[in-house]
Subunit: 204 residues, 3 copies
Amino acid sequence: MLLYILGMIGIAAFAITGVISSGKKDMDLFSLLFLGMVTSLGGGTIRDVILSVETVYWVKDTSYLWVACLSSAFAFFTVRIIENRQTLFHYADSFGLALFTVVATEKVLLLGFSPSIAITMGIITGVAGGIIRDVLSHRPPLVLGKEFYATPAFLGAALVVLLEKNIPSHEFNSIYAVALIFILRVFAIHKGLYYPSWLLYKKR
Amino acid sequence: MLLYILGMIGIAAFAITGVISSGKKDMDLFSLLFLGMVTSLGGGTIRDVILSVETVYWVKDTSYLWVACLSSAFAFFTVRIIENRQTLFHYADSFGLALFTVVATEKVLLLGFSPSIAITMGIITGVAGGIIRDVLSHRPPLVLGKEFYATPAFLGAALVVLLEKNIPSHEFNSIYAVALIFILRVFAIHKGLYYPSWLLYKKR
Amino acid sequence: MLLYILGMIGIAAFAITGVISSGKKDMDLFSLLFLGMVTSLGGGTIRDVILSVETVYWVKDTSYLWVACLSSAFAFFTVRIIENRQTLFHYADSFGLALFTVVATEKVLLLGFSPSIAITMGIITGVAGGIIRDVLSHRPPLVLGKEFYATPAFLGAALVVLLEKNIPSHEFNSIYAVALIFILRVFAIHKGLYYPSWLLYKKR
């Protein structure tokens, strides 16, 4: 149940980033609904298609589809009155990343897959929607920037696996992992947190 | 049967757009066959993979593969003699969009899915091939432009659902919906049809 | 067994290209692991998802996942000491293209699909990982350049089909086809091998 609600909030968060992301060009309502929905539903779709254990989640339960659609529409009309959209964009993106990574890792573990598959799938689910959004909006994917992005997702997914092994089904496991990812991302956004240079591949 | 033929024509139309789209750089015959085939087969492939009800259509019936391959080759040799390629590009793209959206919506309805899934899948099938083409050719995706694109696809898919509910299996249902999408797109191309500004998300 | 080893080497080769490809911007270890893994696992994932006959290969056998991860990490630390990275990039990419195309064509034939499906899937598997890498790194996809790329993949896949029909399960069949693709690509890189102009679609 908690996973379900967290998943829905993640969808709304990513839908908002899809709408803001497009801010560099004129786009109409339906194009933006499309971009918002692809951003928010894309990651989980790729996860379900690769695992092919169940029907893709939003085909099975169309509530996801409606939440993605309505939150994109809501964002379309409200986002324009917000001053600092770039900050909102990064916060919503980090929140979506945290929620999707954790929810997907939990879900894949519950389906009985190994920890390495669960962590990989968690990261893919967390970052794939944002990658599609960034490629379609002609911006370099956030995940491939210098600041912490893939790392928090990895650490959060690993924390889920660790907690589920030691204190299985504890109700706050997801919350801890979501908090870890989100806080690391907020530090990365505000402090430009990145690795020491020997763990960076420098541009030439 | 009508759906089958319309699907084939859609594949040919999208194959042509794939060939023209590449016109900004030198490309050889096989690269263009590849781009044409990805453009024309991509949308339906994504639809079938997400629904995972049947084998992907061109794996089951390789006629689709051959039509995509041969129409790309045909376009490769003939398109260069045409003066106004951009107009042809937009017309062929609109025609493919109309056909794929309608055929996919009908197909998904026939498979027993709900109207919201059918409309979503119709739109995805219609626009996905073009998106892949545009991303690979480094042009901004048509679907994310200011002019009507996602809207006609949505209206056409909705019309299919409406007609199938009220006059099921009427033989002209598909034709009406195809015409609606195509005509709206032609207006969008020639008159720059777009929404009033409060339904546009302005660039800043 | 030979196919298994060739597949693993192909994964390592593509992982290296993923790491080098990013060389235009600062990227951290985890972002590069992600890019390397997407590049090396992407093509086969798309193949398995489209055929949907078996579980995606790296979900079934996580050795692939670990090889992709470890060779990306290895490349991250070693590639920076190499002078001529562009040459290494193109060689590793050609080697990966050759191995993936051939291994996939063999695998799809063994699953009982027709030659046209096997050749198509071979080409898709060979080029898809590189396309994802190039799109994410904001470079024009190699496959859509003027030099031979799709053509060697096609010829190699066709050679596999031809050899398997005439001398089935001969142990060197794969080696011949890999050599054909790789040698054609090396010529294309060093001699700028491309088609006569009537088989090129000129930029305007």
